[in-house]
C-alpha cells in the first residue's frame, strides 16, 4: 500500500501541524474493545493530553473507532455512521476481530476484513489491545497526519465502486442518502 505523497502546499503543512493535535473520537463500542477506552481516558493514561476526546455524533468526529467484531447487521450501521462523518476522517480498527475476524473467524455472521468495506487508517493488534498500545497507535496516527500520509479517507472517495461492490456483496442493496461520488466532485477531493 504505497502512500501517494501529495505535494503539499506550505499552508497544508501548517494546517496539518495544528490539526494533528485535535482528534475527536467516535467509538463504535462493539465486542469487548470498549472497556479498554475508559482507562486510556482517565487519570492513569490520560488520552486528553494529545487533544483526543470522545465525541458523540459522527458530524463532530474525526476518528471512527471500531472496537471489536462487526456482524453484517452492525456493519450496515457503521457504514452509515462513517458516511455521515466529515472528511478528513479516519477509521481505527481495534483488536484482531477487525483485522482478520479474530476468534469469530469461522462465524457465518461476522465480517472478516474491515478494510474491504471501509478504508481503515490504523489497525491496533491485540485481542483487546491495552491502553499503552492504544495511545501508541494514536501517536502513530498523529505522526502520519503530520507528514500528510493519513489519506485513507481520500481512498473512499476515489475508488468508491470497489467499496460499494464489497458492501453490497455482504449486505445487499441499501441507501445511505449520502452521494459520495457527487461529494467527491463538489468538495474537489478527487
Amino acid at each position: 500500500m504505497e502512500e501517494k505523497l501529495t505535494q503539499r502546499s506550505v499552508w497544508e503543512k501548517i494546517l496539518n501541524k495544528l490539526r494533528k493535535r485535535s482528534l475527536w473520537m467516535l467509538h463504535y463500542c462493539t465486542g469487548c474493545g470498549a472497556i479498554e477506552l475508559p482507562p486510556t481516558m482517565t487519570a492513569r493514561f490520560d488520552m486528553e493530553r494529545f487533544g483526543i476526546t470522545p465525541m458523540v455524533t459522527p458530524r463532530q468526529a474525526d476518528i471512527l473507532l471500531i472496537t471489536g467484531y462487526l456482524s453484517a447487521k452492525t456493519l450496515k450501521r457503521v457504514i452509515l455512521t462513517y458516511e455521515q462523518m466529515q472528511a478528513p476522517k479516519w477509521v481505527v480498527g481495534f483488536g484482531s476481530c477487525t483485522i482478520n475476524g479474530g476468534m469469530y473467524w469461522n462465524s457465518y455472521a461476522t465480517i472478516k476484513k474491515l478494510d474491504r468495506y471501509v478504508p481503515v487508517e490504523i489497525y491496533i493488534a491485540g485481542c483487546m489491545p491495552r491502553p499503552e498500545a492504544i495511545i501508541n497507535s494514536f501517536n502513530v496516527l498523529i505522526q502520519r497526519i503530520d507528514e500528510g500520509k493519513a489519506n485513507s479517507w481520500k481512498d473512499y472517495y476515489e475508488n468508491y465502486d470497489y467499496y460499494k461492490k464489497n458492501q453490497e456483496a455482504v449486505l445487499g442493496k441499501f441507501d445511505t442518502l449520502v452521494d459520495i461520488k457527487d461529494d467527491a466532485k463538489k468538495f474537489n477531493i478527487v
Binding site: 455524533t57 458530524r59 452509515l80 455512521t81 442518502l177
Partner: protein, 616 residues
C-alpha cells in the same frame, strides 16, 4: 370634513353587503375597495385633528357628538389599517362556498362602533357606540364551527361590562348633570374622594372586562381562536385594545393626572398601584398557560391577554416614559400579533390545521410565512431589533427607576414565559421533520402574503425608528396634559437614559457581516435532506416519525402544575351551576295544572287589597 366621511363609509359597506348578500365574489371586492378608501381617509384625518361634529337626536334632549383628538387619530389609524389588511386576507382565505354570508355586515357595524367609541366626545355617545361595538363583536365572533358556546360566554361578559358602564353613566349624570368629558373633569376636581373612588372602580371595572384583565380574561382565548383565522387576527389585534383606549380616556381625560394621586386607599397603596399589580398578574398567568397550548391560535390569543397586561402596567406607572411605553405597546402589539396570526392563518390555508402536534418542518415549503412568523415572534418576545423591545424597555425602565420592584420582576417573568412559548410556536410549525403528508405543499398565494410582508416591514421600521410613533404619542400625552416623553428618532433621549435602536441595529448587522466572513473561511457546504440525520445508526425513512413536538416543555410542566389551581374556571363553573339550580327551583312554580294558577291569582288579589287598604 373627513370625520363625517369616516363614519359614513362603514354604513356604505353595510349597504353593499346587504345588496350583494348572495353573490359572495362581488361583495368581497367592493368591500375591499371601500375599506381601502376608509384607510386612506384614516391617514389623511391628521390634517383635521380637533374638528368636532355633533348631531342631536330629535326624540330626546340628548345629542351624539364626536371630535377628533390625537389619541382618536392614533386608534383610527390602527383600526382602519388592520381592518383593511384583514379584509384583504379574508378575500383569498375564505373559499366562496363556505364563506359566511353575513360576515361583512357585522364587520361594517363593528368598525362603525369602534370608530364611534374612538371619536366619542361625551359619555352618552361613548356608551352608545360601546354597545354597538360589543354586540357586533359577538356576531363577528359567531362565524365558524363550534363557536356557539365560546362566543356566548363573551356575550355574557360584554353585556355585564355594558351594564356596569350604564351604572357609571347614570351616577355621573345625576351627580354632575352632564356627559361631556371636559365638564366632568372640571366638576370631578371638587368631588369627594369616595365618589371619585366609586366612579374609578366602576368604569375601570367595566373596561377591564373588555380588555381581558386578569380575573375577567377567561372568555378571550376560546372565543377568539374558534373563529376563522383572519377574524382571530383582527380581534386579537384591535378588538381588546379598545378597552385600553377607554382606560386611557377615563384615567387621563376624565379623572386627569392631578387627582389620580388623590385616589390613595391607605398609606402607600394607591389605586394605580393596585392596577399595576393586577396587570402584573395578567402578564404572568396567561403567558405560562400559553406554554402548554397545543393549538397555535390559542397560544397566541393567550399572549394577547399577557401583552394587554403590559399596556395597562405602562399606563399605571404614571410617569411620562411609562405611559408612552404603554401606548406605544398598543400599536406594537397590534402589528406583531396580527403578523403572527396572519402567518399561522396562511399555514392553515395550506395545511388545513393549526394543531402544533401535527405540523413541522414547513420552513422548506413556506419560507415567507416562516420569515413573517420569525419577525413576529422576535417582536413578541421583545428582542432588540424589533419594535416589541422598545415599548417593553420603556416600561421596565420606569418600573425600576420609580421603585416598583415587584412589578418589574413580574414583567421579567412574563417575558421569560413569552420567549419559551414563542419558540415552541415557531419550532412546532416550521422547524423539525416535515411530515410526509405535507411534502407537496406550495407557498401561500400572493394575496395572503401581502399583509404578512407589509406588517413585517412595519414591525422592523417601528423597531429601528420608534421616533415615528413616539412623536405622535408625545402629542397625545401633551393633549391629555400629561408630561410628554422626550424621544429621538431612534429611541429615548439622553436625559432619561439613552436608548438608540439604530446603533443596536447597525452593530448587529456589522456582527453578522463579520460572522459571514468567518463563515466563508471554511470550505463549501452541502445541504442535506432531513432524513440524512444522526439517529444512532438508524436508517431514517418517511415512515419513521423522528420529531419532538408533543409536550415540548414537559419538565417545566412538572414544576408549574402544582400551582395551576384553575381558579377562574372553577369560579365560573360554580356561578353557572348556581344559576342553573336557582332557575330549576324557580321553574317548579309553573306546575301546569289549572287550580294552582287560580290559587295564585286569588292570593295576589288578597295581598293587593291589604296593601291598598294600608295606603288609603
Amino acid at each position: 370634513m373627513y370625520l363625517k366621511t369616516i363614519l359614513l363609509l362603514p354604513a356604505i359597506t353595510f349597504l353593499i353587503s346587504l345588496l350583494f348578500y348572495k353573490t359572495e365574489s362581488v361583495k368581497k371586492y367592493l368591500n375591499l375597495i371601500v375599506y381601502g378608501i376608509l384607510f386612506y381617509y384614516g391617514i389623511i384625518l391628521y390634517k383635521q385633528i380637533g374638528t368636532n361634529f355633533g348631531y342631536n337626536l330629535n326624540f330626546s334632549s340628548l345629542s351624539v357628538n364626536f371630535n377628533v383628538t390625537y389619541l382618536g387619530y392614533f386608534f383610527t389609524l390602527m383600526i382602519t389599517g388592520l381592518t383593511f389588511l384583514t379584509v384583504l386576507f379574508y378575500l383569498k382565505f375564505m373559499k366562496d362556498e363556505n364563506a359566511p354570508r353575513d360576515f361583512y355586515i357585522w364587520l361594517a357595524i363593528k368598525t362603525f362602533g369602534m370608530l364611534g367609541v374612538v371619536f366619542a366626545s361625551d359619555l352618552f355617545t361613548f356608551f352608545l357606540m360601546w354597545e354597538v361595538m360589543s354586540w357586533s363583536t359577538y356576531f363577528v365572533m359567531r362565524k365558524g364551527e363550534n363557536t356557539q358556546e365560546s362566543s356566548f360566554k363573551y356575550l355574557i361578559y360584554a353585556v355585564s361590562s355594558g351594564m356596569l358602564l350604564l351604572v357609571g353613566l347614570t351616577i355621573t349624570y345625576n351627580t354632575f348633570g352632564t356627559f361631556d368629558f371636559a365638564q366632568i373633569h372640571n366638576a370631578l376636581s371638587g368631588a369627594s374622594v369616595s365618589l371619585l373612588f366609586l366612579l374609578a372602580v366602576i368604569f375601570i371595572g367595566s373596561f377591564a372586562i373588555e380588555s381581558a384583565v386578569f380575573p375577567l380574561h377567561s372568555w378571550l382565548p376560546d372565543s377568539y381562536s374558534n373563529t376563522f383565522s383572519p377574524i382571530t387576527s383582527y380581534l386579537t389585534g384591535i378588538s381588546t385594545r379598545i378597552g385600553v383606549f377607554a382606560i386611557i380616556i377615563f384615567l387621563f381625560n376624565i379623572i386627569g393626572m392631578e387627582n389620580i394621586n388623590k385616589l390613595v386607599i391607605f398609606k402607600g397603596i394607591s389605586l394605580m398601584y393596585i392596577l399595576g399589580l393586577i396587570s402584573a398578574i395578567t402578564i404572568i398567568i396567561p403567558t405560562f398557560t400559553a406554554l402548554e397550548q397545543y393549538d397555535a391560535k390559542k397560544l397566541v390569543t393567550w399572549h394577547g391577554i399577557g401583552q394587554g397586561g403590559y399596556m395597562i402596567l405602562g399606563l399605571a406607572s404614571g410617569t411620562a416614559l411609562g405611559i408612552a411605553g404603554g401606548i406605544f405597546h398598543i400599536v406594537n402589539h397590534l402589528t406583531y400579533v396580527s403578523l403572527i396570526l396572519f402567518s399561522v392563518a396562511a399555514v392553515e390555508y395550506r395545511t388545513g390545521t393549526t394543531n402544533l402536534n401535527k405540523l413541522g418542518g414547513l420552513i422548506k415549503k413556506m419560507p415567507i410565512e416562516f420569515l413573517g412568523l420569525l419577525i413576529g415572534i422576535i417582536a413578541l418576545a421583545g428582542i432588540p431589533p424589533m419594535n416589541g423591545f422598545v415599548s417593553k424597555w420603556m416600561i421596565y425602565k420606569t418600573l425600576i427607576l420609580t421603585g416598583h420592584p415587584i412589578l418589574a420582576i413580574a414583567a421579567v417573568i412574563g417575558t421569560l414565559g413569552t420567549i419559551l412559548s414563542v419558540y415552541k410556536l415557531i419550532h412546532n410549525i416550521f422547524l423539525g421533520q416535515l411530515p410526509p403528508e405535507y411534502n407537496n405543499i406550495k407557498e401561500a398565494p400572493f394575496i395572503l402574503q401581502i399583509p404578512i410582508i407589509v406588517l413585517m416591514i412595519v414591525v422592523y421600521v417601528l423597531g429601528v425608528y420608534p421616533g415615528i410613533a413616539l412623536s405622535l404619542i408625545a402629542k397625545i400625552q401633551s393633549a391629555l396634559n400629561l408630561p410628554a416623553v422626550n424621544y429621538t428618532l431612534h429611541g429615548v433621549s439622553k436625559e432619561v437614559g439613552e436608548l438608540n435602536m439604530n446603533v443596536i441595529n447597525l452593530v448587529f448587522l456589522g456582527g453578522i457581516i463579520v460572522a459571514y466572513l468567518i463563515y466563508l473561511l471554511g470550505n463549501k457546504r452541502r445541504h442535506v435532506s432531513q432524513y440524512n440525520n444522526y439517529a444512532a445508526g438508524h436508517f431514517l425513512t418517511e415512515k419513521t416519525k423522528y420529531n419532538f413536538n408533543y409536550k415540548f416543555y414537559a419538565a417545566l410542566d412538572h414544576v408549574i402544575s402544582p400551582w395551576k389551581k384553575r381558579i377562574i374556571e372553577r369560579t365560573e363553573k360554580a356561578i353557572i351551576s348556581f344559576t342553573e339550580n336557582f332557575g330549576e327551583y324557580f321553574r317548579r312554580i309553573y306546575t301546569g295544572n289549572l287550580n294552582t294558577y287560580t290559587m295564585y291569582i286569588l292570593t295576589a288579589f288578597v295581598i293587593s287589597i291589604i296593601i291598598l287598604k294600608e295606603l288609603l
